[in-house]
């Protein structure tokens, strides 16, 4: 018998542009990706995880992610997250989660002011999260970034708290954007919401890009965790 395919909702905001890549990658990794429109008020009933994809929601007006936070679908995403549901924010999705205060901290313009689009070397700091279980602690990953505002900021107190709680999941080997403590991805305190600037959905296919498939380790971990929740709920 084949394994059940957990439903993972992928939200499209006006200006999202990595939603289809994320859905395609999730489908290929064994999930049933379901497109959810920003104007929807509910998530599909059988949703086991939510992905907020990359892009430029609402034209990045005001601050990246600041307007998307008020999208009609966001209250449903926020209550899903507060009930312990798995939520992954990629790039603009990470910015939206910070603006919605589902993740701590903020993302600022890159220190170089340049838009950076290239593969980066990352170090995995936590392999015991629902988003990283397929990888090993300390593993080196190569995943592309493509952003103008990926400089993660947390003040000293918040940074100390993140480090103490083990919320830093991914760090850059060579800091590309000025992020504090080389942070590339963090979880919330409970570990069910994860945001990262690199794009795992762009590193799942050996024929595309540099050929790295390290992104599949992250998205595959999410599919595993979502399937586990589906089976537990059944």
């Amino acid at each position: 018998m084949s394994e059940p395919r957990p439903t993972i909702a992928v939200v499209t905001f006006p200006g999202s542009n990595d939603d289809r890549d994320a859905a395609l990658a999730l489908d290929r990794l064994g999930a049933e990706a379901r497109a959810v429109w920003h104007a929807d008020h509910e998530l599909p009933r059988d949703t086991t995880a939510v992905v907020l994809p990359g892009g430029f929601s609402y034209g990045d007006y005001l601050r990246c992610g600041a307007i998307a936070r008020f999208a009609p679908v966001m209250p449903a995403v926020a209550s899903f997250a507060r009930e312990g549901g798995l939520v992954l924010g990629i790039c603009n999705g990470f910015q939206v989660l910070c603006e919605a205060r589902l993740l701590p901290g903020a993302l600022r313009p890159n220190a170089s002011l340049e838009f950076i689009c290239r593969d980066v070397a990352l170090r995995l700091e936590r392999a015991d999260t629902p988003f990283t279980s397929r990888a090993a602690l300390g593993q080196a990953l190569s995943i592309p970034i493509k952003h103008g505002e990926g400089c993660y900021f947390a003040d000293d107190d918040l940074l100390a708290e993140l480090e103490r709680n083990g919320q830093v999941v991914l760090r850059y080997e060579q800091n590309p954007n000025g992020s504090v403590a080389d942070i590339a991805g963090i979880t919330n305190e409970h570990g069910n919401v994860f945001g990262l600037m690199p794009h795992p959905e762009h590193a799942v296919e050996p024929l595309i890009g540099s050929g790295s498939t390290d992104g599949a380790l992250i998205l595959g971990s999410l599919v595993d965790a979502a399937r586990e929740r589906l089976l537990t709920a059944a």
Binding site: L62, R108, P109, A111, G178
Partner: protein, 79 residues
């Protein structure tokens, strides 16, 4: 009533835009020790009561117009 809201990067927050502006000013021969770049938001309000309007705008700044973690804001009324 008109209100103007000034949003600035908080002191200590890296402001690469400000640094780029400062370096361009230097190239033009202007001697500036520091430049910081913020945002101006002009609002047209129905509310004539200054106190109520100020309280409302403070909420608007906290919830949307500024990100209190990285930005400070100032509210000014101009009649």
């Amino acid at each position: 009533m008109r209100a103007t809201i000034l949003v600035r990067p908080k002191p200590g927050i890296l402001d690469p835009q400000g640094e780029a502006v400062q370096s361009s000013l230097h190239q033009l021969g202007f001697h500036v020790d520091e430049a910081r770049v913020g945002r101006v938001i002009d609002l047209e309000l129905d509310d004539a009561d200054g106190e109520t309007a100020r309280a409302e705008l403070e909420r608007a700044c906290e919830q949307l117009l500024a990100n209190p973690l990285i930005e400070s804001y100032e509210i000014a009324f101009d009649g």
